[in-house]
Symmetry: C2
Subunit: 105 residues, 2 copies
């Protein structure tokens, strides 16, 4: 029987420097992605995480967030999902995501 999902596909990125994480978070499109992921509390398919930009632009932003160690790509039932790596970021920069997501309402 096939597993319903493969929980491990960490994309191998460590959480980056505070400077890189702040840079990753300092864009309105990416901030909205993080906001929606945080609100959802679970991994989401890419298309639910933006509206105002093209697919290729969104993919570019996902990559930046992933390389900063803020997001992780996984496949759930063949669908690409993005997950907010809250625990990992919290471990390195406690309170950072809390303050940011609080500010995002």
């Amino acid at each position: 029987m096939p597993e319903t999902e493969t929980p491990h596909d960490p994309d191998g990125y460590p959480v980056a420097s505070i400077q890189s994480v702040l840079a990753a978070l300092s864009d309105p499109v990416r901030l909205e992605m993080v906001r929606r992921l945080d609100a959802a509390g679970a991994a989401q398919p890419c298309s639910l995480l933006y509206d105002e930009v093209s697919k290729s632009t969104a993919s570019h932003h996902f990559k930046i967030l992933r390389e900063a160690g803020v997001l992780e790509r996984s496949k759930i039932g063949g669908q690409v999902h993005q997950r907010l790596r809250r625990a990992e970021v919290d471990a390195l920069y406690p309170g950072l995501l809390d303050s940011v997501t609080a500010a995002l309402g």
Copy 2:
């Protein structure tokens, strides 16, 4: 008799959006400025807050931090000083500066 200092010269900037504050903090030169101001715990003359860039570049970075509402310019005994607006930023984005300065060691 002239006052030894004029404590009020707030430059009139409110603390900006979380996106703008994150953008202001996402540069290595500016992060170092904030780190030194936080470590000092008091307003400092400009020249103590950077080494690696020219005066004009530093002045550019001060302006960005001021416009984001993170710094404030004041004159102490005729000397220009920069002050970290910790209380003001904390009020709007609690925990943000704490997590950032903690990450800066």
